[in-house]
């Protein structure tokens, strides 16, 4: 029996090329046709004794010729012995098959003689059976019917709402301790985040806002020209940019740029247990990680909005002068005349809020990220989607409120 363990060693190693699949013909692809197929015979020389005779090639390479199912018509009072003398070559495929057979035999409480297996096979199987099977179901559980899913969905929605409320509450507390001058983060972090959310985000903001201003002016120009009121393009662009589009565009850009980055950063930190490490050193992760990010966006967003407004108006100027033959002075006068304090204040106010929304959405999703790579991706997606949606909803709410209070 020992020849299985030792005798076939060389052929064994030479055969194990592991490239049966695919067409990457390497010299190691031994032709599988030449191998004898795996076979199993159940023989009963006398009542009460059954010999399982295996023969042929029992390797993962013997493909296309599936190994027989590890099952047999065995009566429960027979004793099973194994005969592997005719196995020409084997690897995990044989072990896996035998392990399965032993499980079947155990289930039917059929006795078998492990000692009839070659030593190497026996030791491997004993190793595989050393630790008993764990039978509890994994925590992620089964999928259930749609009613249950609706219920679970609602529950999850409710928990998420509570979590967000809790997070906003924590942030508020952290904010109060910040105001009282007991901030717990590093100043360098704050400056870095301000640079990332400010200067580095400026070019894309300028470009997009400029184009938005241009588009607004163009659409307006075509309509207003028909009434000979082309000078009002200046009003249109100035008010639309300052009151709505400047802060909304800045918010959406920052959400896709910085909010996503925050979610990915914090999510990765969570996966690496860095956030837990902050907790064990008694740093409040909200203080340490969320506050500087939130503060940076809160401070930078109005500035970005200001630049966005200017870029948008510049886009309007281009159309006004280039297409409508207005003069600089006319356009300037009209713009200054159109922009009241209320318009400016409305846009400015919203930009602070949008900054907070982007920061909360990014940080919240990052901090609650599941502990795996897919989780980080999910957190980032959710941060952007939720952030943009919230910005638009918040803008609608502002519109209603401004209308009620005649602002």
């Amino acid at each position: 029996m020992s020849h299985i363990v030792t005798g076939t060693f060389d052929s064994h190693c030479a055969l194990r090329g592991f490239t049966p699949g695919g067409n990457t013909g390497s010299d190691l692809d031994a032709p599988t046709e030449s191998l004898p197929p795996p076979r199993v015979d159940f023989q009963s020389p006398n009542a009460g004794r059954c010999v399982v005779r295996l023969s042929g090639d029992w390797t993962v390479k013997s493909t296309g010729r599936p190994h027989p199912a590890p099952d047999a018509n065995l009566s429960s009072n027979s004793t099973v012995a194994f005969d592997l003398n005719d196995v020409s070559d084997w690897d995990s495929a044989l072990l896996a098959w035998l392990l399965e057979l032993l499980i079947v035999l155990d289930q039917r409480s059929i006795r078998y003689q492990m000692e009839t297996l070659p030593g190497g096979v026996r030791r491997s199987l004993e190793l595989a059976r050393a630790v008993p099977e764990r039978t509890d179901t994994p925590p992620h559980g089964e999928t259930s019917g749609w009613l249950a899913r609706v219920g679970l969905g609602a529950q999850r929605g409710w928990t998420a709402t509570k979590h967000i409320a809790e997070f906003v509450g924590d942030c508020t507390l952290a904010m109060t301790s910040l105001v009282r001058g007991r901030a717990q983060f590093r100043r360098a972090d704050l400056l870095l985040f301000m640079q990332e959310a400010g200067a580095e985000a400026l070019p894309i903001n300028l470009l997009i806002s400029f184009l938005v201003g241009l588009i607004l002016a163009f659409v307006g120009a075509v309509q207003l020209q028909q009434f000979g009121a082309s000078i009002y393009v200046a009003n249109l662009v100035a008010i639309a940019m300052v009151r709505e589009m400047g802060c909304i565009m800045a918010g959406i850009i920052m959400c896709g740029r910085t909010g996503a980055a925050y979610a990915a950063q914090l999510g990765t930190m969570k996966v690496n247990q860095e956030i837990d490490a902050f907790r064990t050193f008694l740093f409040n992760p909200i203080d340490f990680l969320v506050m500087p990010r939130m503060l940076a966006l809160f401070l930078m967003m109005p500035i970005l909005t200001l630049f966005a407004n200017l870029a948008g108006i510049a886009g309007g100027v281009l159309i006004g002068i280039g297409m409508l033959d207005l003069t600089w002075l006319e356009y300037w006068h009209q713009t200054v005349h159109a922009l009241t304090f209320k318009h400016c204040a409305a846009g400015f106010m919203k930009s602070f809020v949008f900054g907070l929304i982007v920061a909360i959405s990014g940080c919240y999703n990052g901090m609650r990220c599941p502990n795996n790579a897919a989780g980080v991706g999910q957190a980032t997606t959710t941060a952007v989607v939720a952030g943009i949606t919230s910005i638009v909803i918040a803008d609608a709410v502002f519109a209603v409120l401004f209308n009620i209070f005649k602002f």
């Binding site: 194990r16 592991f18 390497s26 993962v60 599936p66 495929a93 896996a96 399965e100 491997s124 599941p370």
Partner: protein
């Protein structure tokens, strides 16, 4: 051909850019040997392993498998060499979006033509061999660090590779599991003729499984000793090697732990 080493390192220099981690590493590992890389933390053991499996390229020297240069091989040759490797990373390296069973069955699905139930059988076997029977449907994030390590081991063994590379396989395992791991390594070597390259600090494990060991010295950035660890312990004159193998001077290392 008979005494052709399975793996041969020829004066390999390991470096990150200009920073040389280890100079002039040479070794010959015969087929079916367990080769242990030992040395203090941060001395370049993982780096050596990464160079051997092609994740990094040595700054100097050559690595040969079955007498063929791994570094000079063209893409197809290199791929056929790499297919014979099974690698366990220090942190497990499991794909977190897949269950343990999927982690193991993916290479089987891609690189063999086995039928689904055969794959399922092999997955069961591999998980059973590392003591994780019944954890097929768990995600890596749902099991402990030691279990992730063992699942990584099961995945490394998925294709019955000719060479297994283990980076600190027993770190984070309890003594009993760790001993079973040693048995597993020996049974792989004895049954399937697998060559095992292993980074480890566990003296017990080193003495139990190593046919050959190499000691990387942090201070001199060179290989201080090569050979069977028992012989090394008996014969070495080098204080660093001696200190390592006796756990900093404690007597009877193999029993003391």
């Amino acid at each position: 051909m008979a005494d052709q080493p399975h793996i041969e390192l020829k004066n390999v220099d390991l470096a990150y850019g200009d920073f040389v981690v280890m100079r002039d590493v040479s070794a010959r590992v015969a087929r079916g040997q367990v080769f242990v890389i030992m040395g203090g933390s941060g001395c370049g053991k993982s780096t050596l392993l990464w160079n051997m499996i092609g994740l990094q390229t040595p700054a100097k020297g050559d690595i040969l498998y079955d007498g063929k240069s791994f570094l000079q091989a063209d893409d197809a040759e290199r791929e056929s060499m790499e297919r014979k490797f099974g690698v366990l990373f220090q942190g497990g390296g499991l794909w977190s979006s897949m269950t343990l069973a999927e982690n193991i069955s993916l290479p089987l699905q891609e690189h063999t033509q086995l039928a689904d139930d055969e794959i399922r059988r092999i997955v069961r076997l591999k998980l059973a061999l590392v003591g994780l029977k019944g954890f097929e449907d768990f995600y890596p994030s749902e099991v402990s660090g030691g279990m992730m390590k063992r699942a990584g081991l099961a995945r490394a063994m998925a294709l019955d590779p000719e060479i297994l590379f283990f980076d600190e396989p027993s770190a984070g395992l309890d003594p009993i599991t760790s001993r079973r791991l040693d048995e597993l390594i020996l049974s792989l070597r004895d049954n399937l003729g697998t060559t095992v390259v292993m980074v480890t600090h566990e003296l017990d494990s080193i003495f139990a499984v190593a046919d050959q060991a190499i000691f990387l010295d942090n201070a001199s950035r060179t290989v201080k000793a090569t050979g069977n660890p028992r012989d090394l312990l008996r014969d070495t004159k080098d204080p660093a090697v001696r200190e390592f193998l006796t756990r900093g001077g404690q007597k009877e290392p193999a029993k003391a732990i």
